[in-house]
């Protein structure tokens, strides 16, 4: 009888213990801050990473998506993904109210005390924003790829989910993405891909220091892009570079010296490795998804390698989205404030008419380098996500292997940024000052993105 009583007590104790453990696990893993829905971190981030790999292909194959237009498209897609899941992380960290043009309360909120599946919300939001960003020029193959990815994700993510939760979550994701899309219409870059070379009243000055065409493209790209609304308020003005070296054709001038450096590098000093670096970062004729796409491919690969949850993936990609979008606006403001001549034009006119660059010179002014600015901003985000201020992190960029390049390995993010910036010098398309100032601008933008906005911490 005593044995039976002890056994009953033990069983009851075991039951209570089991209940407590399960309740505790629910608290940590299965419910979000509102205690109604499983948190964003409980979902795998792979499906969102796949959208960004797909976005590279869509960018490559949609007419009109040049570096400026692409950075904006990646920007809004990243924002849509983030805002669709933020209430499963920390509602206070919404970018509404933090980002210029998106006032607090301007985005739909999830209904209180109702369950959401944040992965399904994110799936719907991301696919919707992709279709919206490329809408007027999207080719059928790309539309099918986006639709197929959305459908396959939906099938996978809906397993064992209440149909009402599925519908509610997808509707919420769609509403968030559509609200952001409507906001995007007023930032200055709306449907710019329809006429990327539209001058809209801009006239390049006819001075010796000014940009002149370097290819059959006679008008420069997106001259008003620097006037676009940035995501981080004030970052464009605050990150502007010091003026370029004074233009001069005097062989004893610093400007001439920088041009001679480019000339000597390209005609005499470039090693095979440096030519490879120039081509590696050139983001390749015909198959580029632009520098922004390359940087997104790297960060997405790193998220993938670290088995990032949906929480870390969405936050990481949104930070990169803001950084890339704003780096290009800041860079473009500088380009058209200074409208500086390209090295190839200067060298052919004042040093050697037969000079040829290693890679093609893109059709816009030199100061500052777009690659340098975007990678500078990008590595600040990567450092925040993966390491400490030293930037030390060992990784291999596999993203260009698929385009016939040898994979490149790095032990520090700053090393990668500097290599990317230098690649434009090896390629003969930028002066050294374009790259150093470009990196500084990028670092300033990246710092502002990481520090001036209130992002979720302790990402998992």
């Amino acid at each position: 009888m005593k044995i039976f009583s002890t056994l009953k007590t033990l069983l009851f104790g075991l039951f209570v213990l089991t209940f407590l453990v399960m309740a505790c696990q629910d608290d940590v893993n299965n419910f979000g801050p509102d205690q109604t829905s499983p948190p964003t971190r409980s979902y795998d981030g792979t499906f969102l990473q796949d959208y960004f790999f797909l976005n590279c292909r869509v960018t490559q194959t949609t007419p009109g998506f040049l570096p400026t237009q692409s950075s904006r498209a990646y920007g809004y897609i990243g924002l849509a993904a983030y805002e669709s899941v933020i209430h499963g992380i920390d509602s206070e960290k919404t970018l509404a109210g933090q980002i210029d043009g998106i006032p607090r309360g301007s985005l739909p909120l999830p209904s209180p005390n109702m369950e959401y599946n944040w992965a399904l919300a994110c799936n719907a939001a991301t696919a919707h924003m992709m279709r919206r960003m490329f809408e007027l020029k999207i080719i059928e193959d790309n539309r099918e790829r986006i639709d197929r990815m959305e459908y396959e994700n939906r099938v996978e993510l809906s397993k064992d989910v209440d149909p009402e939760v599925i519908t509610r979550s997808e509707n919420y994701g769609l509403a968030v993405a559509e609200a952001l899309y409507q906001i995007s219409k007023t930032d200055g870059g709306h449907e710019a891909y329809m006429k990327p070379f539209s001058q809209d009243g801009f006239a390049m000055p006819k001075e010796d220091y000014c940009w002149i065409p370097t290819s059959a493209q006679l008008e420069p790209l997106s001259p008003h892009w620097g006037e676009n609304r940035s995501f981080v308020r004030g970052v464009v003005e605050e990150s502007q570079p010091i003026p370029n070296l004074p233009f001069s054709t005097d062989p004893s001038s610093e400007f001439y010296s920088q041009a001679m450096d480019v000339y000597n590098q390209v005609t005499k000093l470039n090693t095979p490795e440096e030519v490879t670096i120039a081509k590696y970062w050139a983001d390749d004729p015909f198959v580029t998804c632009t520098p922004t796409g390359h940087t997104f491919n790297i960060v997405t690969q790193l998220l993938q390698e670290s088995n990032a949850s949906l929480e870390k993936t969405a936050v990481g990609l949104a930070m990169m989205a803001v950084a890339e979008n704003d780096a290009f606006i800041s860079c473009w403001k500088s380009k058209y404030d200074y409208v500086l001549i390209r090295p190839v034009s200067y060298i052919q006119k004042y040093i050697d008419p037969s000079f040829e660059t290693v890679i093609g010179t893109p059709p816009f002014p030199a100061y500052i380098s777009g690659h340098s600015a975007e990678i500078g901003a990008g590595v600040k985000v990567m450092i925040h996500l993966f390491t400490d201020e030293s930037g030390d992190y060992t990784f291999t960029d596999l993203s260009q292997l698929q385009y016939g390049f040898e994979a490149r390995s790095y032990d520090n993010f700053y090393d990668m940024a500097e290599e990317c910036a230098l690649s434009r010098y090896y390629g003969g398309i930028h002066f050294e000052m374009d790259n150093t100032a470009g990196l500084d601008v990028g670092y300033a933008v990246g710092d502002a993105v990481v520090n001036d906005l209130d992002w979720p911490q302790n990402l998992q």
């Binding site: 790999f53 292909r57 490559q60 194959t61 065409p213 290819s215 059959a216 006679l218 081509k279 390749d284 004729p285 015909f286 198959v287 993938q304 390698e305 093609g360 060992t394 990784f395 291999t396 596999l398 292997l401 698929q402 385009y403 016939g404 390049f405 040898e406 994979a407 390995s409």
Partner: protein, 134 residues
């Protein structure tokens, strides 16, 4: 009975060794395939850069000499039109190949550590170098 015992141990040992062999990284068995894909990608990359150089040369001619050599203008433009078609072909082929390589790479490297990835890349590179893809 004792004899059967030793046979059992031998069988168990063989099975363990066999399992040990299959524990080697999967990518070693797939190196040939990925190296061949990579070789094709290198050839396509060379073709793209070469075509881009040619197109630049004709575009430069159009830009710099259209007024001084108007009789050549049509020729340059027709050459560029032909190259545009070639460009489309190369771009499509490259993109499709890049999709295959990305999927294959993901499959082969998703569970590798950073160090293993470097070894993997070095292995691909040495094989590709031996294939003279450039």
């Amino acid at each position: 009975m004792k004899h059967h015992h030793w046979v059992s141990i031998l069988i168990l040992l063989s099975a363990t060794l066999a399992c040990g062999e299959s524990d080697e990284p999967d990518w070693k068995n797939d190196l040939d395939k990925i190296s061949q894909l990579n070789c094709n990608a290198i050839q396509l990359r060379e073709a793209r850069f070469s075509l881009a150089d040619s197109m630049r040369a004709y575009q430069d001619s159009l830009l710099d000499h259209s007024e001084t050599m108007p009789q050549r203008r049509n020729f340059w433009e027709s050459q560029l039109a032909v190259m545009e078609e070639r460009k489309e072909y190369l771009a499509n082929t490259s993109r499709n190949l890049s999709d295959s390589i990305r999927v294959e790479l993901l499959r082969l490297t998703k569970d590798l550590s950073v160090e293993e990835k470097r070894v993997f890349n070095d292995s691909i590179q040495s094989r590709v170098d031996a294939m003279n893809c450039d």
